[in-house]
């Protein structure tokens, strides 16, 4: 399972990527939507973990663009913003498989990832 993490907080995504790697999940990270689009040109990912709020290009928009390139790709959103309820509805509408609130519980994240791919 290859995962791409996108969040504008570098310290956050780098640490999260390393933690996933420790758990045996191959995870790369970038800090913007533009970088993410560049990255998928050279590498294929099964899942993208996207922050909803990204500078210049929102997570929702990025998800659309990524999906255009790779229809098989799965998505999980995470955000530190807004009520959970709004976020749940928003991400479901956007076609995401799951949503998470920051700070992320790593075990829950890994569990969900496995769940998505074991289906």
């Amino acid at each position: 399972m290859r995962v791409l993490l996108v969040d504008d907080e570098e310290e956050l995504v780098s640490a999260l990527a390393e933690r996933l790697s420790i758990r045996g999940i191959e995870a790369d990270w970038v800090t913007s939507g533009e970088d993410a689009l560049k990255r998928i040109q050279s590498k294929t990912y099964d899942l993208a973990l996207l922050d909803v709020k990204l500078p210049r290009m929102s997570g929702l928009k990025l998800k659309k663009l990524l999906q255009e390139k790779n229809a098989e790709m799965k998505f999980i959103f995470f955000t530190g913003h807004g009520s959970e309820n709004n976020f749940k509805i928003g991400s479901a509408e956007a076609g995401a498989q799951y949503y998470l609130a920051k700070p992320v519980n790593i075990d829950l994240l890994v569990h969900k990832m496995n769940e998505i791919f074991n289906k």
Binding site: R23, G80, P103
Partner: protein
């Protein structure tokens, strides 16, 4: 509570303390006074004018009526007296023309004539014939006057020059008031004789004393020297000199106003009786004649006073009622404004909380991942972590904690000012403080916010909490109008007259011209479907007014909107 306190309406001393110095729309006391004054003027001025005019008209008509009545009485009485004298004179004239000298000299004939005169006309006492030498040649009467020499009598001297002579009333030999009527007859040979008759003035006296004169009036006759010729009721006995001046000659009946000895106003009607030395006078007391008018006048004044009192009571009552109602409505308006403001404040706080949560969650997430990673390395990978790596982790965690602390401190600093009133304000600081809350949002949406505050903007006294709310509202408004990548320019300029202007200019969607006039109206929103309450700008408008400022808006559809606030650099005198 004193009576004054009970009567005083509530609005009299009403001050809306909570509303602040600029929110008072109405000066109720002034409205009340203006209403009372205006309605009083427009109601009382016509009323009083009409009554004054009526007063004058009625007074004049009553006065002229009195004058007319007096004049008519004088005129009629003069005619009567004149007729009385003319009648007697004509009888003598007839006789002197008709009779021969011999007939006059015949005592029986003369006695018969006197008898006939008495029967036919009355008033004759005696009759005598006087020759040119003034000797009475023939006489019939109650006295022995035959041969009497009248040549030195004043009346005889008078008759030498005239055909007819009527004397003043005098006592003469007889010691009773009488007058003489003498007629002269000139014969063809130029010799003449005089027929003289004495006429009793009782007839006059009766005539005048039976005259019905209103107003405690008096009718009498005087001669040209002012001597009473008949007795009067109030102005002296016969032959006494009248206390009033002799009225000047007029061929017509005259009525004058004058004062009597007691200083009371009297009406003097008089007429000169032609070919006699007599002046007929009728004197009336004006006060008594005017009595009916005084009664009418009293009624008129009473009516006026009652009307004025009733009108004033109604005006004061109605004005007080209406102004009280306006005050009540205004009070309710202020209450609901407070409620709306409060809910706007709550909404701002909600928005703030959401923004703050987002910002705090990011450093929290970093802390979470860093500590998680440390644990992972130690537990899962069983690594030996070098102290330099640990220090890196710790620094990263501390930096995130600091970020959280900065955010919470900012929030606290912001919240602390929300209910604080007038304080010295550094405008730049307040603007930046407010923008910081939207900083992340601006970053995500690539909105460029530029703030231009020149250094010559002095600190000034204002309400910091209200300013923050105003800026937050305008900022939210601009962000809603801007699309991603838009611009918001906040410019502060010092204006003349101790004013400072703050402009929020965005290049967002703009406001249609037809909506522009209504943007400050409560519940007017073009974003109702997108979560707008329609209250933000109306509250902003109210807040700006409360701190003594003014807000205007300019907008062009598709090009952007600019809100301009001007604030006084000096606090209002309240």
């Amino acid at each position: 509570m004193s009576i004054q306190g009970k009567l005083k309406p509530k609005f009299w001393d009403y001050q809306d303390v909570a509303a602040g110095p600029f929110k008072r729309l109405f000066n109720f006391r002034r409205i009340w006074m203006l209403a009372v004054l205006l309605t009083t003027v427009v109601t009382l001025v016509p009323l009083i004018s009409i009554i004054l005019i009526d007063y004058k008209v009625t007074q004049n008509s009553i006065e002229s009526e009195i004058l007319l009545r007096t004049a008519r009485l004088v005129s009629n009485t003069r005619r009567t007296i004149s007729f009385f004298l003319t009648e007697r004179r004509s009888a003598l004239n007839f006789m002197i023309q008709d009779y021969t000298l011999e007939e006059f000299k015949n005592p029986d004939r003369l006695a018969l004539t006197l008898e006939n005169l008495k029967k036919a006309f009355g008033g004759y006492i005696d009759i005598g014939l006087i020759n040119p030498l003034g000797i009475q040649e023939a006489y019939i009467g109650p006295y022995q006057l035959e041969g009497q020499d009248y040549s030195n009598e004043w009346w005889f001297k008078e008759i030498l020059y005239r055909d007819v002579y009527i004397s003043d009333v005098f006592m003469g030999f007889r010691q009773v008031p009488h007058l003489i009527i003498a007629v002269r007859h000139t014969q063809p040979d130029k010799s003449f004789y005089v027929l003289r008759a004495t006429v009793d003035t009782n007839k006059f006296d009766q005539l005048l004393s039976h005259l019905e004169v209103d107003g405690e009036g008096d009718a009498f006759i005087i001669n040209h020297q002012g001597k009473l010729q008949t007795p009067s009721r109030y102005h002296g006995k016969v032959f006494e000199t009248l206390s009033l001046p002799v009225p000047s000659y007029s061929p017509r009946t005259q009525v004058l106003e004058g004062k009597n000895a007691k200083g009371k106003t009297i009406l003097i009607g008089y007429a000169y009786i032609s070919e006699t030395p007599f002046i007929l006078m009728i004197v009336k007391q004006k006060d008594i004649l005017m009595k009916p008018w005084y009664r009418t006048r009293l009624q008129l004044i009473g009516f006026l006073a009652a009307s004025v009192i009733i009108i004033l009571i109604v005006i004061v009552g109605v004005s007080t009622y209406l102004v009280s109602k306006i005050q009540e409505a205004d009070y309710k308006r202020i209450i609901s404004l407070h409620e709306v403001e409060y809910s706007n404040k709550l909404a701002s706080i909600g928005r703030l909380a959401a923004g703050v949560a987002h910002e705090i969650n990011n450093p929290l997430a970093i802390i979470n991942e860093k500590t998680g990673l440390m644990k992972d390395r130690l537990i899962i990978k069983k690594d030996q972590i070098e102290s330099s790596t640990l220090i890196d982790f710790a620094d990263s965690i501390l930096a995130s904690v600091e970020r959280c602390a900065a955010i919470t401190n900012r929030l606290l600093g912001f919240a602390r000012h929300i209910d604080v009133s007038i304080r010295p304000i550094n405008l730049k600081e307040v603007i930046h403080e407010t923008i910081d809350f939207q900083g992340k949002e601006a970053e995500y949406r690539s909105i460029e916010v530029s703030v231009d505050v020149p250094d010559d903007i002095p600190q000034f006294e204002s309400d910091r909490g209200k300013l923050q709310q105003i800026f937050l509202n305008l900022l939210n408004n601009a962000f809603a109008a801007l699309s991603d990548g838009g611009h918001l320019n906040i410019t502060v300029r010092k204006e003349k007259m101790d004013l400072v202007s703050i402009t929020f200019a965005d290049d967002g969607c703009g406001i249609p011209a037809e909506d522009l006039a209504r943007v400050f109206e409560p519940f007017f929103s073009t974003r109702t479907m997108k979560g707008g309450t329609g209250l933000g700008l109306s509250i902003t408008y109210g807040l700006v007014q409360e701190i003594g400022g003014n807000i205007t808006v300019q907008s062009e559809l598709g090009k952007g909107t600019s809100f301009n606030i001007t604030l006084p650099l000096k606090p209002p005198k309240s």
